[in-house]
Symmetry: C2
Subunit: 320 residues, 2 copies
């Protein structure tokens, strides 16, 4: 198994993964519509002899079919990954996360591409009564369109796996940090502090508890399961601890040598559908021999460093 | 709250519900595309002064918007409800169960229609390790496209409820039986026996354990929660026992006075994605004052009687 298709391969996780896979000797085809992916992220590999780029949308079924040609496995990362803005365009999560995943599954079925890695999210647990949350937590109630769309896509993947059309590993991530990070609270905070070093607005009360994983650890987990002999599995990915938004604020300010006034918007949740406590039980993945190498603090610091030395990446966040 | 929109109101459950609601004094608008709904089912109410029929598809957003006009609550029953044939047309569950539900939710949001009753299914539990299965059973793995599409639709409903756009009661049904029954094992068996009274082909090994509910009991549960003051709730509906497919075979044969040879296709599952044991914990709904009045045997007998005295309803099953 040497020829891999990475959907969303120009995105945050995808571009890091693509570079790693090429370095390991895999052939990689990326399909990306550059809606959130960035050409700059894959520029270093564009001339690599084992790299192919297909600039297409997963809603274009002909393109998806073309993307399967000769492929041994699919790593499906493409998604609308911003949980906050679901209500401005409620059809987007459905199209980009559900319909797109269905198109990938149908193309795999028709082209007899069996192996699938799918990126889901800890958001599927909604506000779980069980924390740290294991993969078989109580049947969750969805609190965001993003979570609902991912649980929908997971359901499709498992139905295809059950029927023998694919063999799938589904990863439920906490939020990922690191180089090529493009959205989320760290970029918001760094962008705010670049504009106004003396004041930082924080959504919610700062006590929301979150877990973060460095993209390198996310990639090592994917690579570890790439050749796994499984029909279907679900694996949480995260770190073994969590932090408060306030911890994150402190680490970011320290890293930037700033001491701003903090202004809280108030409330337990940063936005409608924000979960006040995300912390996943990762023992299943640890038993498979994986362990995260970055703790949350160092993952945040690495992200801040990358943002500060790549100020172009901050620009879109600063326009908001 | 007197003006109700029933989607799929010409279908099996919908047509029974519509007749009951009209009898109780509600105004009812039905939207149905007659893909599985039948004009014959609603003929008795077509001239009722409080009845309106909109022959439209829920994928037509303009029609869905029109359907909301003046409505106080929506009972969303329209769906592709046949779990067996998902793999012949894998996009159908997604369109008719997910996209259609999303269109209903968006139309409700835009027209400020708050109250929603949504018909989901026990199939969302896949093959649950917990039987009888409660609403908060372990996070299930989907074993059919039908189940996957319903868990997707449920997720959308709960995300809309969480964001305050709707107040929803989600019912997870076992298979429903009774007058206007149009698909499932009872019609298959009765149709087979009408053609070949001496031989009956049964999918699987006959030991699949299933639970069935009479449509009248299903309707009484919906009516009971119609005015409930809830933001979001999930309620299992079923009977307090289950039967084997073999029990059902015996009851049907006895009711038809036949003694055919039984030919099993073999295997634990009747088809890919068939769950060998469906039995729901209904204590949550019982605590709300509802209890089923038909046991499985009498529900099956009532269905056989209706099919035998409405042989036109058997025709499509006999052509298969």
């Amino acid at each position: 198994m040497t020829f891999l298709l990475v959907t969303g391969g120009a995105g945050f996780i995808g571009s890091n993964l693509t570079a790693s896979l090429l370095a390991m000797g895999y052939h990689v085809r990326v399909i990306d519509n550059f809606s959130t992916g960035r050409r700059r992220f894959i520029e270093p590999v564009l001339q690599h002899p084992d790299f192919q780029l297909l600039e297409s949308d997963l809603l274009d079924r002909t393109a998806v079919a073309r993307a399967m040609d000769g492929v041994d496995a699919v790593i499906h990362l493409a998604a609308n990954a911003d949980v906050r803005f679901g209500w401005e365009k409620p059809g987007r999560d459905l199209e980009q996360n559900v319909t797109a995943t269905h198109n990938v599954l149908e193309a795999m079925r028709h082209h007899h591409v069996e192996r699938l890695i799918f990126s889901s999210t800890g958001s599927v647990y909604g506000e779980s009564p069980l924390v740290p949350t294991p993969e078989d937590a109580p049947f969750p109630i969805q609190t965001s369109l993003y979570g609902a769309s991912k649980v929908a896509a997971e359901g499709l993947v498992s139905a295809y796996a059950e029927a023998g059309h694919v063999r799938a590993s589904v990863f439920r991530f906490v939020s990922i940090l690191g180089p090529h990070y493009t959205h989320g609270h760290v970029i918001d905070f760094v962008a705010q502090l670049k504009r106004h070093p003396s004041r930082l607005k924080v959504l919610g009360d700062g006590h929301q508890r979150k877990s973060y994983l460095h993209v390198n650890d996310c990639i090592s987990a994917i690579v570890k399961r790439l050749h796994a002999d499984v029909d279907f599995e679900i694996l949480n990915l995260g770190t073994e601890n969590y932090c408060e938004v306030n911890d994150s604020v402190r680490w970011i300010c320290e890293r930037m040598n700033l001491n701003p006034a903090i202004v809280y918007s108030g409330g337990q949740r940063g936005w409608v559908g924000d979960s006040p406590f995300i912390f996943l039980d990762i023992s299943r993945m640890k038993k498979l021999g994986w362990t995260p190498t970055f703790d949350i603090k160092s993952a945040i610091e690495d992200t801040v460093d990358w943002l500060l030395s790549n100020s172009w990446a901050l620009k879109s966040a600063m326009l908001e």
